[in-house]
């Protein structure tokens, strides 16, 4: 039994079917990629998993329990963390305070009433360590609405990590990062997975996906059209059609170059 099981999920917006009977899993210690063309329903899947969107039908199971009807915060408390494609950093707080908010929320209502009078030294050190690990320590004192997009994505990652998630949903985490930063980011993901975290990632950077993912699901028009490891996905004709339209494709390598 996998940590996360998405079972036959359908999401309809009026007459549009955004997700069409999608079934896939993500497991602890594994980096799972969710790829597909724009509008394929990847972010909607994330919203269903994290609880921001009720599915029209189907089930989501997490740690073996059905969480389909659970509200967002309850899933978060049980270990579902996520970042957003359209950034949701707390713009008027500093980078450090963004992460502190996450820690505060974990602390519970009584901790909120505690004034900041030099208490909680250990917690503060943990936050600095987290910022350092993600690689944004130098931005700690800047307002979150003034930092570059790539940095803000890393900030969202740090914020999610502060909640100590079992499952991490990353929505296009590498867009806005340069090549060196992307490499470092890939290493960070592998690190997190080796610590036992399940990572499910929507990503357009195929080099990164192929380099770090252990398993990949391909979504097209709301339907999972292929699942497998990077090599299988690379050679799957259905995937090639989805990415290049319905033209006949003969040369595999040229297709993959086109994708990346």
């Amino acid at each position: 039994m996998a940590l996360l099981e998405v079972d036959d999920v359908v999401v309809k917006f009026g007459g549009v079917t955004a997700v069409n009977h999608a079934t896939f899993t993500a497991d602890s210690g594994v980096i799972t990629g969710l790829i597909g063309p724009n509008g394929a329903g990847k972010t909607t899947c994330f919203n269903v998993i994290s609880g921001l969107q009720r599915p029209t039908s189907g089930r989501v199971r997490f740690t073996g329990r059905s969480v389909t009807r659970w509200p967002v915060h309850r899933r978060a408390k049980h270990g579902v963390g996520r970042t957003f494609q359209r950034l949701e950093a707390f713009g008027s707080l500093t980078v450090r305070d963004n992460v502190r908010v996450a820690a505060d929320i974990q602390g519970g209502p009584l901790a909120w009433l505690r004034p900041d009078l030099g208490s909680g030294r250990s917690g503060r050190l943990a936050i600095e360590a987290l910022l350092d690990r993600v690689g944004i320590a130098e931005y700690a004192d800047e307002r979150a609405d003034s930092i570059p997009t790539g940095t803000a994505r890393l900030l969202e990652l740090a914020r999610a990590l502060a909640c100590d998630p079992k499952l991490l949903l990353l929505d296009e985490p590498s867009s806005g990062l340069d090549e060196t930063e992307t490499d470092a980011f890939g290493d960070l993901l592998k690190d997190l997975a080796s610590e036992g975290c399940a990572i499910l990632m929507v990503e357009h950077d195929m080099d990164l996906v192929m380099a770090v993912c252990d398993e990949i699901h391909v979504l097209d028009f709301g339907t999972i059209i292929a699942s497998g490891d990077p090599a299988e996905i690379r050679n799957d004709p259905a995937v090639q059609r989805a990415y290049l339209g319905y033209a006949e494709v003969e040369d595999d390598t040229s297709v993959m170059e086109a994708i990346s």
């Binding site: 978060a76 963390g81 713009g91 008027s92 908010v101 209502p109 004034p115 307002r143 999610a160």
Partner: protein
């Protein structure tokens, strides 16, 4: 059976009039996303205008009707949309609410100024005509009302579904920018919606005036009926709004017919719209969290503990000197100002920090006062218990709207304020109708604070304690959470924060603060009654809090003082009483977009003066007395100038802080 039929029919007539008012409300809200709390107030002013045309100017009824519905009302609607509410829909809900509450108060003031209180009668149309249908007598006025509502329903249907501009109106709800790209004109659509909405408010007001009377407040409160009806259609669907209006009209009619005319049930009639509203809100489905909202906003910086304590001591000393210097009557007025300031402090927490609007804050003070009077525990325990009871009532009000968004919470608070004002406070188990309850002053550790001067000073002390506590919380985890929640509720949810309970907790804490203020007020007055806690007072509290700055403690202090002075000025020149309301209301319309309010300008002035002269004086002091005194002065004046910049030294940080203060409450208002 036949009487049931008769009363149902009667209910349909009122329902038809409600439907007309409500459809105007839905039309403006759906097209521009601005909920016009002043919808009923506009209906009231236009009904007065109609009275003026027909009775005072003596114009023929049809001509007056045409002038009011076809010229005056659309012109006002166009003007309001163009110059007052334009762009409010894209901003935070709280700003739009404050601006329209400002309109409401301003219109009531204006009406009182133009048409001073005196009995006025607006006859029904064709008062002598009527028909006997079975056992029921139907008047021409009722028939006209029904016909009007049918015409409105059909007209709106054709407009929205069969015309180009109607399609544009429906499209501009979802995405005005996109509409513009496709060659539509969202501004025209919005103006038309407001023009029609205003005419419908006028028509409904005129049709209902023979029933409810030509009264400033009764017609203004029609907005609650309209809102209750519109809620059935989630402020979107016109057919459901009509159904809701008819249902409400019939319920009211049945209540008149079948409920006892004595005791508890007799008081229920005026609050049926409010009860109807709560019932609908409870069964409404959960609102979905929105992702991808506007963010990157202000947070007025907060002074540190040393500065806030320092200023607290200054205020206490100033209060002590002032209380000693003025007459007894004025001492009591200072106590009243402290009460208002404390209630506004509760709004600083809820509105200034939390971004939620309450239109019932003074009602919660009333709950606190009632609890204090009934408990008969004139000591700290009684004070705390009163606050806890008010907090509990606040939680009860917030609970039904737990699953909904801020707009519904604010509107429900208005219904709650009316409910308390018209029913609960006047009930026999509370203050009684026109009655008062005696209250004693507080004792602490067995020592009673008997004299006016010491009691009022104690109230100032309470304000200072509350303010310092509030600022301390604001600097800590709670303050960060409040900002985070305004910046991105969705992100807070995915980090594990239960937004629903957080909101209830916030609302309840704020109600508790107001309740404590009310309990202290009860002790100050010696007797309290329902008349001390009218729902209208809550609107004034909100407006003055926003005008003077709802994001800072200083704003609450200034606002409280101003609200205390308002009736003093009004009684010194009664003929201008209405005009003062109008000034206040329309002032709030102008200033509502900047919740940092007048206090912010005081800070700016202080900073400017400091930069010009303060620095030099300080330099001198530094040389003579050494840095110590200077450091203290610097700490104190830093706070005066601006709540919470790290230090008065002009650093880059300060410039940012100053800019932040200029920005609106939450999000960017275009």
């Amino acid at each position: 059976m036949s009487s049931l039929f008769a009363f149902t029919l009667l209910g349909l007539f009122t329902g038809a009039a409600y439907a007309i008012v409500a459809s105007g409300l839905v039309l403006t809200y759906a097209t521009t996303r601005v909920f016009n709390i002043a919808h009923g107030a506009f209906g009231m002013v236009l009904a007065f205008t109609f009275w003026d045309f027909t009775q005072r100017q003596g114009m023929p009824t049809l001509l007056s009707l045409f002038l009011v519905l076809g010229v005056v009302a659309p012109a006002i609607g166009w003007f309001i949309q163009r110059f007052v509410t334009k762009g409010l829909g894209e901003g935070p809900v709280s700003v739009a609410l404050v601006v329209t509450v400002g309109l409401l108060v301003g219109l009531i003031g204006l009406a009182q100024y133009i048409w001073p209180p005196e009995p006025r009668i607006l006859l029904p149309f064709h008062p002598e005509t009527g028909w006997q249908v079975g056992e029921t007598y139907i008047t021409a006025h009722q028939l006209i009302t029904i016909i009007c509502s049918i015409v409105v329903a059909v007209g709106l249907y054709v407009l929205l579904n069969r015309t180009r501009i109607g399609t544009a109106m429906r499209a501009s709800v979802d995405n005005p920018e996109l509409l513009k790209l496709f060659g539509g004109r969202p501004d025209t659509a919005a103006s038309l919606a407001w023009a029609i909405g205003m005419s419908l408010a006028a028509l409904g007001g005129i049709l209902l005036t023979p029933v409810v009377g030509l009264d400033y407040y009764a017609l203004t409160l029609l907005v609650i009926n309209a809102y209750a009806a519109a809620m059935l259609g989630r402020l979107k669907s016109l057919p459901l709004t009509f159904a809701g209006a008819m249902g409400l009209g019939i319920l009211e009619s049945w209540a008149v017919a079948y409920l006892p005319t004595e005791g508890f049930w007799s008081t229920i009639r005026p609050v049926i719209p409010a009860l109807f509203l709560f019932a609908i809100v409870v069964v409404m489905p959960q609102a979905q969290l929105r992702i991808g909202q506007v963010k990157g906003i202000v947070s007025a910086p907060v002074p540190n503990l040393r500065k806030s304590m320092g200023w607290g001591v200054v205020l206490l000393v100033f209060g002590y000197v002032l209380i000693g210097a003025v007459s007894r009557a004025d001492v009591l007025l200072i106590g009243v100002a402290a009460t208002y300031a404390m209630v506004m402090l509760s709004l600083v927490l809820l509105t200034g920090y939390g971004g939620h609007v309450s239109l019932a804050q003074f009602t919660f003070a009333g709950v606190g006062a009632l609890a204090y009077a009934k408990l008969e525990e004139p000591n700290l325990t009684g004070l705390v218990l009163s606050a806890v009871i008010a907090a509990g009532v606040g939680a009860l009000v917030a609970l039904p709207v737990l699953r909904l968004t801020g707009l519904y919470l604010a509107l429900s608070t208005m219904a709650f304020a009316v409910l308390m004002d018209k029913m609960i406070f006047q009930a026999d188990y509370a203050f009684k109708f026109n009655g008062v309850l005696a209250t004693e002053r507080l004792s602490i550790a067995g020592i009673k604070i008997e004299s006016d001067t010491s009691y009022v000073w104690f109230m100032v002390l309470c304000f200072v304690v509350m303010a310092v506590a509030l600022l301390t919380l604001r600097r800590g985890a709670l303050g960060r959470l409040l900002i985070a929640m305004r910046d991105s509720p969705s992100a807070c949810g995915t980090l594990g924060l239960d937004l629903r309970w957080f909101r209830v907790g916030l609302f309840s804490a704020s109600a508790g603060m107001a309740g404590a203020a009310g309990a202290l007020f009860a002790g100050l007055r010696g007797t309290v009654g329902a008349a001390d806690f009218l729902y209208f007072q809550s609107l004034l509290v909100l407006l003055l809090a926003v005008v003077f700055g709802v994001t800072s403690v200083t704003g609450a202090l200034l606002g409280g003082t101003a609200l205390m002075l308002l009736p003093v000025w009004q009684s010194s020149s009664p003929e201008l009483a209405g005009l003062l309301f109008a000034l206040l209301g329309f002032g709030a319309v102008l200033l509502g977009r900047d919740p940092n309010g007048i206090a912010n300008n005081v800070f700016k002035l202080g900073r400017w003066g400091w930069g010009r002269w303060g620095g030099d004086v300080l330099g001198d002091l530094d040389e003579r007395v050494g840095g110590r005194l200077a450091a203290i002065t610097r700490g104190l004046s830093g706070n005066l100038m601006r709540p919470g910049s790290p230090s008065p030294a002009r650093s880059v940080d300060d410039e940012i802080a100053a800019d932040e203060l200029d920005a609106p409450l939450a999000g960017k208002v275009v």
